[in-house]
Symmetry: D2
Subunit: 142 residues, 4 copies
């Protein structure tokens, strides 16, 4: 369940046929891509483009991903991908995710990903202020 | 260029990070998936769900695909995928495609795909009337 | 680290260009596909085809996936995907994974996936004996 | 059919589950990735790594791709991807492809792709001699 004390970004899309597998359902690796797109949308929604973040010399590498599959989704369904920040440190971010059916609200998959900020040279780095401040706008304000 | 004498469906989406490659651009195979999603949207826009078409015992197999790459697209861009019917026969359909940037209108990729209607048992079949009629609504009316 | 008391399957392949992303590395979602192929190879190596398992009316659904990313892999590298069974129950299996560089042995990614056996009608079921026995051959013998 | 007067590279692999779709067959976009891997293997087989080519400051962009789908392939099949050079110009290459079943030899898909050599700055460029010479070794010798 997304937390109620912070910003939860939502983006909506149709399941593509190419995303299904021979079981007739969305392949489990595809939700990792949905998570990523949810994350992209999170920063977009707070006015901070991840593309700009990259162009400024940084990358948010993926250190860990976890997904729990509750109910399979199928071709043509309209899904909502929700994402929120679970934890924000000076050099790291944890995002949480929920993929639900737009019509019924059924929860298909939940997940979490851990990220570390690095420079394009590969050094661990502080998340630049401009971007960290944007992310912080999504967190509970003290 | 999409023809001006028939229905051209449009669907819009952001380029996902997973769709890029080490050249920093959308991988060329991904446009084939965009074409497919454009095709899905075409039938949706005419009130005929491809998911229902499948459930009624048919498949629209892909016999041929062609894509021309004009300008590379990048992560975060908002694209429009356009599709239209180039030819509709009793057992076959040809779709045309154009992938353009939503803001600038720059044409990134164009393409075409040939499809043949088969039953789930693998026999070539007439496209069922309900679906063919829906598709025909997108064609120039005599 | 793969356990030393049981069978560890190995399959080897080159990183494909399409599997890279704009960071110039293998996209993190792709390792989930490598895990799956490692799993496929595990049963192949024990003489039990997953394709046959499916044809006999069952599916091994994915209930959970976890991946830890240590070192990014790049286009053209030859990787080894290792997989082993961490736990085998009457209706469930847990697989462990390790993706390493074939030349240097560097560990790129480790992971784990939880699976539940269901019928094609969607009911949780005992893993059929023939397949369970084959899987058991990879476990420590009492 | 691959031409008999020149080098035809072959690489072999199993169809991955993630590559299938809800029709139970390999998704048509995946063959474009197989083509690419066949192309990678072509240069590897002639002792010229595409990764090195890229590192030397060039890219071989894709200008056009075409695929014809004859017979669908399925999960677990062992496929052979064949590739050869159809045409080699100072700034462009055309590759041909054939994807066949390793056991039966059945031809699943054939195709062709057109490539243009550019610098990392995006300018059309002569294919560097070292790489062009390697590619030429695969062509009929006058």
């Amino acid at each position: 369940m997304p937390p109620s004390d912070r910003f939860v970004a939502e983006t909506s899309f149709y399941v593509r046929y190419a995303e299904t597998d021979a079981m007739g359902i969305v392949h489990h690796s595809v939700y990792i891509v949905y998570f990523e797109e949810a994350r992209s949308h999170y920063s977009r929604a707070l006015g901070a483009s991840y593309a700009d973040f990259e162009r400024s010399g940084y990358w948010l590498t993926v250190a860990e991903v976890q997904a729990r599959y509750a109910v399979p989704a199928r071709y043509g369904q309209q899904l909502i991908a929700r994402s929120w920040i679970e934890d924000l440190k000076s050099r790291a971010i944890v995002f949480g995710y929920e993929i639900v059916d737009q019509t019924s609200g059924v929860v298909h998959v939940t997940g979490r990903s851990h990220h570390i900020c690095i420079t394009h040279e590969g050094h661990v780095a502080r998340i630049p202020d401009s971007w960290a401040n944007a992310m912080r706008r999504g967190l509970p304000q003290q």
